[in-house]
Every structure is written in C-alpha cells, then in structure tokens.
Symmetry: C2
C-alpha cells in the first residue's frame, strides 16, 4: 500500500522527529523488558524464551520502522495504535495526513 502525497520541509522535520521519538520509546521499553526478564530467577528456559522474543521483536522492529514517505502514514498509524506515538507528536502535519492517520488507527 502506498500513498502519493507531498511532504513539506516542515512536515518532513516533524515526521522525522516523531519517527525517531517512537523508535526511541519502543527500544527503551524493550531494553527495560530484557533487563526485567534477566533479573531475578533466570533459567535456561527463560533464556531461550528471551531469545525467541528478541527474534520476533527484531523482525517486527526492522520491518516496522520504514521511513519512506510513501508508507509513512501507515507507519505512523501503526505506531499510534501501538502506543509509541500520540497524535500530539504529529502536530503540524497537514489536516489531510492527520485525517488519514486517524482513519487508519480506527480501522
């Protein structure tokens, strides 16, 4: 799925900031989770479970953080849905883009 829309210079700056913020939040949450899982009792099975979890997360994160303008609306919608971005983080994007994001979030 692609959307051909123009991004102004200001919008690009806002988008980049929001994108990086979401990434940082998600990564920090994941680092915290890993630390949490490893602390306390941490058995062999926990370790292989952690390995499986990281495999899935890595795949998920690598695929999700795709900074092409043609897919960015979908990326933002997913990040909002998952809680890594709020609509406030997208303040300054034009009305049409925000409406699309919101529509996708509510789908």
């Amino acid at each position: 799925m692609q959307v051909d829309i123009e991004w102004s210079k200001t919008e690009k700056a806002i988008a980049k900031l929001a994108f990086d913020k979401a990434y940082e939040r998600e990564i920090n949450a994941l680092l915290g989770e890993v630390r949490e899982k490893v602390s306390g009792t941490f058995t062999l099975q926990d370790m292989w479970n952690l390995h499986d979890y990281l495999s899935a997360k890595r795949h998920d994160i690598d695929g999700k953080y795709d900074y092409r303008y043609s897919v960015l609306i979908f990326v933002f919608a997913q990040l909002v849905r998952e809680g890594w971005l709020s609509l406030n983080d997208l303040d300054g994007l034009d009305e049409k883009k925000l409406t699309r994001v919101i529509a996708l979030v509510n789908m």
Copy 2:
C-alpha cells in the same frame, strides 16, 4: 564418526553424571554471561549483539550435547577441551575409553 564400544551399567551412570554436570556448568556460565551483558549500560546494539550471541550458542549447545553412546567419546573430548569437563569427571570409565578421550583432546 562413530565408535562401537560397549558401555557397562556403571559406565553409563558415570557418563550420564558427567554429561549432565558439563551441561549444567555450561548453561550456568551462559546465564551468568547474559546477566553480565545486560547489567550496566545496555544499548540497542548490545541487545542485538546478545541476540546474535544467543542464536550461535543455542545452535552450538543443541548440537553438542548429544547423548548417543556411539558419539559420546567425541562429545566428552570436546567438553574436556572446552573446559566444561575435567578428566576427573570421567573417572571410572574403562581405560580404553579414557585413552580415546585423551587422544581426541590432544588432537
């Protein structure tokens, strides 16, 4: 590579004990390593490095701990070489087996 040799009941008991001991030592060392890597500064890159490391270790450990009597001499030799077993742990195996293990260790 296979070796067709007989294992007495006593030898089987000694072998199983040594095998389990090596496994426990290696796993405990690995759990300690993971805890160590995660403590202190633990960045995104550290996390993916840890993931790669666990992928390799899992593959290595799954392949190495093979409790078939036909390959056990080779398994023991590798475990001794890597320091997870000492020759003392194999005390009670017959002379021929021990000699083979030692020869493989020194290869």
